[in-house]
Amino acid sequence: MVAETLFAVRRNARLYRRSLGAVVRAVLEYVADFWILIAAGIVTQSLGLVFLSVVMSRVPHLNGWSYPEMVLIYGLAGVSSGIVPVLSDGIWQLASFIHNGQLDYALTRPAPPLMQVMSAWVGFNGVGDLVASAAMLTWALTRVDVHWTPLNVLILLILMISGIALRLAMCVVANTVSFWLRMPMPMFAMTAWQVGELARYPLGIYGFGLRFLLGAAAPFAFAGFFPAAWLLDRGGYAWLGILTPVVAVLWWIFAVWLFRRGLRRYDSAGH
């Protein structure tokens, strides 16, 4: 049983890699596009930095957080959201797949349909996101007041990976809603994504409603803010950061369950 599961996981991982690789080869046919997307990713990520540096040049602390700490949160959240387009940009096409009945073939192949959808495209803008966010993160990590230990580093890595997994799961959930909404565009997921951007600032600045939304109902804060709070050992949030792996696993279970439910509603554009 364990061996079988392991075999299935390895097989799917290989298929996933193969699909993404094939798409990368296809995208690289247009080299200009590749660079434009990466540049767009970098420019978009710089937006928040412009905002932060403009206002923080006039106010030294925001809700008790210094400029490097703000950049740390911003960069950490940027890394986890930047991976989403790289690893699962196909999920953004789910709405149009459903609308046009383009899931038909995926449902007749011996590979998980969710996996086939996720690996249907690669968004190179994510590479730009990652480059910009990683730069911010590095800059901030060298400036924040943290006593580094090997354990520290290991936990931070685990939290970052969990944060990435969580963002992926949340993106799957937000797009899976398309099975019920039946619009050709993933409007719900786009809205959710923008809401997620709010979690790139310290949660304490928001009122109860937004804090509850970003920290619990749609816990984007686990993909950036809570891990940062844990690292910096800030106030009442420190212990929440350590829960990130648990939250990620729960959201993946939810995502897979919801996607299965959604498939049962799929009507192949009703022909």
Binding site: R25, D104, G270
Partner: protein, 339 residues
Amino acid sequence: MALLEAHDLTKTFRRPEKDPGLRGSFKHLFQRKYSTKTAVGGVDLSIEAGEAVAYVGPNGAGKSTTIKLLTGIVEPTSGEVRIGGLVPHRNRVANSRQIGVLFGQRTQLWWDLPVRESLALLRDMYDLSPDRFRAQLKRFDEVLGLDELLPVVARKLSLGQRMRADLACALLHDPRIVFLDEPTIGLDIAVKDRVREFLRQLKAEGTTIMLTTHDLGDIEDTCERIVIIDGGRVIYDGSLAQVKDRYARERRVHLQLGSELTVTELADRFPQATVTAGAEGRREFTIAFDKAELTAGAVLAGVAQIAEVLEVKIDEPAIEDVVRKVYAGELLLAEGSTP
């Protein structure tokens, strides 16, 4: 137990209704009406291993929906399906290894990749060994001329080339049963012949085939059984030969002559047939007859005795005509209607 068993298969769709125009859109903002459409209503079907079944009916009759129900793509509203003991929409992955699917209107090739890459991705999904994969490609090259398509990016393929590549995709893993939804739609004669030849070969190798088409020629040499569906219900299920003998007997011979004749001259010669003059008056004629009473050969030979024949075209009835006749109840389907 048969390879494929479907019992009382039903699928209904719910669609929002909207009045036309700006007012309609505005009204629709506040008040939504829905209508329920039954695409497939209570279909019973049983296909034995090795059978080749033609599944025909007019547009919107529920053909494609049936195929999607049988392949597990959509879940039935009620009723059940089993293929080789598996319920397709519950055991998608296991089931997908025993079925092959082709939708003529839609490709499963990766749009921006060469055909070879698409096939290689499918090879990995179906866990084919490199040797097996090579052998399959060789086999497909022989009938479908696949080799010349392998390096071409899918979006640059012509319709006919695309269909050949898609057939290879659908059959790469040697499925026990293959569902082909309009595999010759929009193809020219040469490619059509190739596809038909391929179907014959599949059939000879023992693959179970279920085929939907609008073209009688597709099924003539391959399928011995025909299922006719209309309005989501099976209205005939029986032997193809019988249907053809009964409903597809009319032939039309179009002639262009080197010398002038009159309708009466020809009608006198073929009292069993109906003769009409064509656009070019006395040099163009159409002779319609029942193939049980007359043959095209006899018509040609007869005309040749009185005039020089320049051009000949022979029309057989399209499957739609047959379906229309069956549906209109022009001739009763007492025998063979229950399998």
